[in-house]
């Protein structure tokens, strides 16, 4: 089950208001996906990565990875621990080199860059980390100024620009403090300021909120979303927290055993996950229904609301398909990227089916339901 509560914003909200209007919208149920015309910024081409540790066994961390990330996009990467997420993101700024294929950033093959060009590229890519990785021996201000100092910018100018970056992340009052004195959320803000101080076009985030409590996580995500909108910054974001992806990403790739097993816009991957790993990461557990319903006297149908139809599930069609006695017993529909997403549980008492006296009444009801909502299943047993 998925918690709701986040209101849709911007265009999505406008769409929602329109949908909720009293006028009946006769738009076709299946929308044609708009092609993303933004220029491509990062491209993975058949990328593989094999680690050959000294004296250890080879580790095939990535295999056959191909996708691209567009300018201004927030691209999420999810997967279990050890799936290869960090390996993948570290290829983007050349912290690791692929053992097969190519990673292109702004057209350039990262692994083929000489030391000078790689340094220049890294200065155009910000990175934030789970452990923040701030120098304990420097003040927040000097930490944030460090990338500029490394690039040969004078102390005064570096401090001035660090102050701007700290302003952006709302940490100006801690400029002179040492990181040891900051809370986790403040440390990550400092980390973000440091990543942004060179005005990069791309931000890499490897589990940047994993060490933070839920509320701090939300504030950091709000900050990232704000920066994405304000600066048009592309963000590639790794996490194992589904909420994070749901809140912030445009598209998501699910990675398992070093391969991308699912990729697409959030509403589709989350609304209608195809791969077992995605499902288990999303934890589509069955709801706990009261024993009277779950005991098996009623037929329970589970209807996935998958977002292909922007308007949401057609309740009249569902009710008509099942006939009298159908009840909505559990459900959740929220909006992801303006599209409905969730699951409804509808029951039909067995007595109603038996009353029809037809041999396959239950199957027939299910077939009628499938005709109006393609993502329906019979749940034989609900906890």
């Amino acid at each position: 089950m998925t918690p709701s509560g986040r209101g849709p914003t911007g265009a999505a909200a406008a769409q929602l208001r329109e949908d909720e209007g009293m006028t009946v919208n006769y738009a076709p149920p299946h929308f044609v996906e708009e092609a993303d015309t933004r220029p491509v910024q990062v491209v993975f081409e058949g990328v593989g990565k094999v680690y050959r540790p000294r004296g250890g066994q080879e580790v095939h961390a990535l295999a056959d990875v191909g996708f691209d990330v567009r300018e201004g996009e927030v691209f999420g990467i999810i997967g279990r621990s050890g799936a290869g997420k960090s390996s993948l993101i570290r290829l983007v700024n050349g912290l690791e080199r692929p053992t097969a294929g190519r990673v292109r950033v702004e057209g350039a093959d990262v692994a083929a860059l000489g030391e000078g060009d790689l340094t220049a590229l890294r200065r155009r890519i910000g990175m934030i980390f789970q452990g923040f990785n701030l120098l304990a021996s420097s003040t927040v201000e000097d930490n944030v100024a460090l990338p500029l100092r490394l690039a040969g910018i004078g102390r005064r100018e570096a401090r001035r620009r660090a102050a701007e970056a700290l302003e952006l992340v709302g940490l100006s009052d801690k400029a002179r403090a040492y990181p040891g004195r900051l809370s986790g959320g403040q440390k990550q803000r400092a980390g973000i300021a440091r990543a942004l101080v060179q005005k990069p076009k791309l931000l890499l985030s490897d589990e940047a909120t994993s060490a933070l409590d839920p509320e701090t996580t939300r504030s950091i995500l709000a900050l990232l979303r704000d920066i994405n909108a304000k600066l048009g910054l592309t963000i590639i974001l790794i996490t194992h927290e589904m909420e994070v992806i749901r809140d912030i990403a445009d598209r998501v790739a699910v990675i398992e055993g070093g391969r991308i097993v699912e990729i697409g816009p959030i509403w589709r991957v989350f609304g209608n996950p195809q791969h077992g790993v995605t499902r288990s990461l999303l934890d589509h557990g069955a709801p706990a229904l009261p024993p009277g319903i779950a005991a098996g006297d009623d037929l329970v149908f589970s209807i996935g609301v998958t977002g292909e139809d922007v308007r949401g599930p057609d309740l009249f069609a569902i009710a008509s398909a099942l006939g009298p006695g159908a009840r909505l017993v559990h459900g959740n529909v929220e909006r992801l990227q303006g599209r409905p997403s969730g699951r409804l549980y509808v029951t039909l008492p067995r007595s109603v089916i038996e009353a029809t006296a037809l041999p396959n009444a239950a199957e027939a009801a299910f077939a009628r339901l499938r005709a109006v909502v393609p993502h329906a299943e019979i749940v034989s047993h609900v906890r």
Partner: protein, 217 residues
């Protein structure tokens, strides 16, 4: 204590201070780069190079495993080559420095190795060169540990300097040996020991205070 003996005490303390001070400075100047090189050239370091790491590590181990009194004697030809004499203060400074530099280098290496690898990764990600990683990440982050290591080195050098009497360098240890051991004057020996305890305590206390000031964690 007679005025004469008190003078001897002051002279001995001065000799110890000069010996340890100069050798300490040399050990710092030589040991810190050696420690940095050992960390940087180690496998998985920022500049992995076995052909530097192994011989250097081997040399450091060889010197560290040689007892100081043997080093003192074995170094005589080298000492003559460097300072032109084999007795006196300067003759002690050469072996003391040579013994202390690898000792300090190993301790500094440990302090440098303890710098969190995430910091190096972050520096690489922001486009730092290897030299910049040394200068802007490893050294400042390891500084409290390095100061602590240097304190230990100084204390250990005060200890070793007692043996420097063997090459006629004088110092507190030499005083204790001549009066206490050879003339059976237990009082002088005890006094020297008390002074040594005070000096070592003062050094350790100052070092700890400095570490506390530097450590911002």
């Amino acid at each position: 204590m007679s005025g004469n003996l008190l003078d001897l005490f002051w002279i001995a303390m001065w000799e110890t201070a000069v010996m340890v001070g100069i050798s300490g400075a040399i050990a710092l100047a030589a040991g810190l780069p050696i420690g940095l090189i050992l960390v940087a050239t180690a496998p998985g370091g920022i500049f992995p190079a076995k052909w530097i790491n192994w011989p250097l590590g081997g040399l450091v181990n060889a010197i560290r495993s040689t007892p100081f009194i043997i080093l003192l004697v074995a170094m005589i030809p080298l000492t003559r080559l460097i300072v032109g004499t084999t007795i006196g203060l300067w003759a002690a400074i050469v072996p003391l420095s040579i013994a202390a530099a690898p000792f300090f280098a190993r301790l500094a290496e440990v302090a440098l190795r303890e710098v969190h690898p995430g910091l190096i990764e972050a520096a690489r990600a922001m486009g730092a060169t290897r030299a910049q990683i040394l200068r802007h990440v490893l050294l400042p982050e390891a500084l409290p540990g390095i100061v602590g290591s240097f304190t230990i080195t100084i204390v250990s050098m005060i200890n070793s300097s007692a043996m420097a009497g063997a090459v006629g360098a004088g110092g507190l240890g030499d005083l204790a040996m001549r009066f206490g051991y050879q003339r059976f004057d237990d009082a002088v020996m005890a006094q020297v020991v008390v002074v040594l305890i005070a000096v070592v305590t003062l050094v350790q206390w100052s070092g700890d205070a400095l570490v506390r000031r530097l450590d911002r964690r």
